[in-house]
Structures are given as C-alpha cells and as structure tokens.
C-alpha cells in the first residue's frame, strides 16, 4: 500500500460514511451538543461553587473544596465510568440514557474547572477596586456585582471558551459508552470497513477543524471585547 492509497481510503470513507450516511452531522451534532450542555450547566454550577467557596460557612467551604479537589485530581475517564454506573442508581425513576449519564459526568467535571476559572478571574481584579468601592460606601455585595464582576467577566469569558474546546476533546472519552458522538463513529465504521486507520485520521481531521475553527472564532470575539473595553 502506498501513501496515496491511504488518502484514497480516507477520502472514500469520508464520502461514503461521513457524508453519504450522514455520520459527520450526527457525530459533530452529538459532540457539540454534549460539550455545550456540559459547559453551560458546568458554568452555572461552577459559578455557584465559586460563590459558595466565598461563603462564611466553614462546612460549605470545606465540602466545595473537597469536591473541586476530587474532580480536578482524578481523570475524566474515571469520572465518566463512575457517572455511568452511579447515575442510573440514583435516578432509577428517570431511567437515564447513557448519554444523559455521560453529560452529567462531564458537567460535574467542567463545574470544578469552571469554578477555579471564575475564582482566578475574580482574584485577578485589582484589590484597589474593591477597597475604593468599599471606601465610597458600597456594600460588599454591591461592590461584587457592580465593580468586581464586570471586570472579572473579561478575564473569565476567554478561559470559558478554552474550557469548551477542552470539553470537546474530552467528549471523545464518551465513545466508550457508545453515545453517538464523533469518536463513536470510529467503532461503527471500523466494524463495517475493517479499515480503522483511515477512519481515525478522518476523525482527527474533523476534530481539528472543529476545535481550530472555534478557537479562531473565540480569538476574534476576544479582540472585539478588548477593543470595546
């Protein structure tokens, strides 16, 4: 076999399975939907965790810190295995599908990372801002909402974009549970064609196009945001 015939196989598989059978659209659709759900709810939960970590209650702070340390200290793949096992046990009545279990796992993973993003975004705002606002007589709550947060958002949003791209790559682990995202197509096409390597290379290219496009778009958005500031 020559190098040319690999490209030939890659092209054939791309045309026949990814375009012809529409696996490209379902694969990308599932991957993006899964990532978007994970990051969106992860960000909401992450914000709650970040707020909780600033609370006065020691017990709450301790629980949140423990959760974040555990999620950041163990591999995402392990978390997905555990979610896949434990979510159906906890939500027996709802009969969650594999993709729901995986989405919950990814969401909890993302929440831990997002809460750290938010915390460091807030920390990065100059302390003088808080001091000045407090000296002017604003309450600590108003200071947070009106002074610190608007500035912190500018640090947080770009990092959230990066988190989205990280999660896109992380969803490839969900293929283990056959949920239909892009990496799942590897097992599907491999099983029919017995030609795994060109399939893998196609998948690599599709992931790359997805993440590269997104990071370029985010770069543009970031520059716009900076220009408006």
């Amino acid at each position: 076999m020559t190098m040319g015939s690999i490209f030939h196989d890659m092209w054939d598989i791309f045309v026949e399975y990814y375009i012809g059978q529409g696996l490209l659209w379902t694969g990308i659709g599932y991957t993006l939907a899964l990532s978007a759900i994970a990051v969106f709810f992860g960000a909401l939960l992450g914000a709650l965790l970040a707020i909780g970590k600033m609370s006065r209650f020691k017990a709450l702070r301790f629980i949140i810190t423990a959760f974040i340390e555990i999620m950041r200290g163990t591999p995402a793949l392990l978390q997905l295995y555990i979610a896949y096992f434990i979510v159906p046990m906890l939500l027996t009545n709802l009969n969650p599908t594999p993709i729901a279990c995986v989405a919950i796992g990814l969401m909890l993973n993302s929440a831990a990372y997002v809460s750290e993003i938010i915390r460091s975004g807030i920390d990065a705002v100059d302390k003088g801002q808080t001091e000045a606002a407090r000296a002017l007589g604003l309450t600590s709550k108003t200071t947070m909402i009106k002074v610190v947060m608007p500035q912190a958002i500018k640090n947080i949003l770009p990092a959230l974009g990066n988190e989205f791209i990280t999660i896109i790559k992380e969803t490839s682990l969900a293929s283990n549970f056959f949920v239909g995202e892009l990496m799942t197509t590897y097992a599907v096409i491999k099983g029919v064609t017995f030609n795994p390597i060109p399939t893998l290379m196609d998948i690599g290219i599709i992931y790359f196009v997805m993440t590269f496009t997104l990071s370029k778009l985010m770069g543009i958005a970031e520059r716009r945001m900076k220009a408006s500031a």
Partner: protein
C-alpha cells in the same frame, strides 16, 4: 470495608506504570517543548510555521485519537509497506504510549515555555548581548535560567495533567491505574470499590503535588511582593 481496601490496593499496583509513563513523557515534553518554543521565536519563517502547525494539530485533537494512531496506525502503515514492524518487538505497547504522551505534552509545554521566556525583561537579553554574548549563549546562560523559575509551577501542573491523561492509555494496552481497576471490576463485579480505589490512587498522586505547587507559588508571590 475490606473490599474497598482491596480495590485501592489493586489500583495502587498500577501506580508504577502511570508514574513511569508520566515521568518519561514529561521529560520528552519538556525537551521537545523547549525546541518548539525556540523554533517559534526564531527569525526563520519556515520553523515558525512548522512549530505553529504542530502545536495547533496536537492541541486541536483528542489524545485518545493520537494514541490510537500511534499505537495501531504506525504499525499498520509500516506493515502495509512491507516492513514487519510491531511495537511488541520494540519494548511493547508502553513505548507508543510514552511517545504519544510526550509529544502531546510538548505542544502544551511549548506554550508554557514560550510565555516564560517572554516574561523575562527584554533588558536582560539586551544587556547580555551588549556584553558580547551570542544570542544562543544569552538564551542558555541568562534567559532560560530565569524563565525556569517562572515556568516551574506550570511545568508541575502539566505533570499532574499528564498523570490524569495517561488514563486513556488503557485503550492501547497499557495496564495503568484505571486499567487495573477495570480489570478487577470485570472479574469481581465490585464496580464501586474498584472505581473508588482508582480515584484514591490517582488522588494520592495528584493532590499532594498540586498542594506543593500552590505552596511554591505563594512563596514566590511573597518574595516578589517583599522585593
């Protein structure tokens, strides 16, 4: 309780593999990452573009895909060219695993190193150059030693990330921590003890390390504010 302890002990038997792969990979990653960082700083347009393309591709695709291509794709390709190549003849499946982790982490390391080098005051390079050092000498003797101190925490963080990333290597036949737990789970059906054990085994590696990094960073910050 005994079953949880057993799960933990079984997972711990995977620690040497995980740590060994991560350690070799971080060395490869640092060396090749430094090369990439230096390439992106040279005047040569070709080297700049090459390192940029490499970094974008590696950072833009999941490590799972990279590992599968390295472990199964390379032998498949060489065999189809008539070269009787098998990873097993070159030290087993752990070799492609280490290579993939190393060259994957190099792409991330290069960004860390580049920002570390850029953080060094420009005056340092100018002063070294005006004292008659060549560019390479100034880099080696003046810039990089200072950049190392800045880079160190990010470097250790990358090591923590690598420890977690190596968990996908079970797919290419490396029996590391997670794989140990899975194998035990599939023979004993003690799913929960198996995975809790795995989680604990990872945490005794990652959490002390990240605590140490935080401590170092705080110490550095105090020094800086004192200076």
């Amino acid at each position: 309780m005994g079953v949880y302890l057993k799960g933990f002990l079984i997972a711990c038997r995977g620690i040497p593999a995980t740590v060994a792969v991560s350690l070799i990979a971080i060395v490869i990653g640092a060396a090749f990452g430094l090369l990439l960082a230096l390439c992106s700083q040279t005047k040569s347009k070709v080297l700049q573009v090459l390192s940029k393309v490499y970094i974008d591709i590696v950072r833009g695709t999941p490590m799972l895909v990279q590992a599968l291509i390295m472990a199964y794709g390379i032998p498949w390709l060489l065999q189809s060219w008539g070269v009787g190549f098998k990873w097993d003849n070159f030290g087993g499946m752990v070799v492609p695993a280490v290579i993939v982790c190393g060259f994957n982490s190099a792409a991330y390391m290069s960004e860390v190193i580049r920002s570390g080098i850029q953080a060094i005051d420009k005056g340092q390079m100018e002063a070294a150059r005006s004292l008659g050092m060549s560019h390479g000498m100034a880099m080696r003797l003046v810039i990089i030693p200072q950049a190392v101190r800045i880079i160190l925490p990010a470097f250790a963080n990358e090591f923590v990330t690598l420890i977690k990333e190596t968990s996908v290597l079970g797919y290419v036949g490396v029996v590391e921590i997670l794989r140990r737990g899975q194998l035990w789970n599939s023979s004993s059906f003690e799913t929960f003890p198996a995975y809790i054990g795995v989680a604990l085994a990872y945490m005794i590696l990652t959490i002390p390390l990240s605590k140490a990094i935080n401590g170092y960073e705080r110490k550095m910050a105090r020094k800086e504010s004192a200076a």
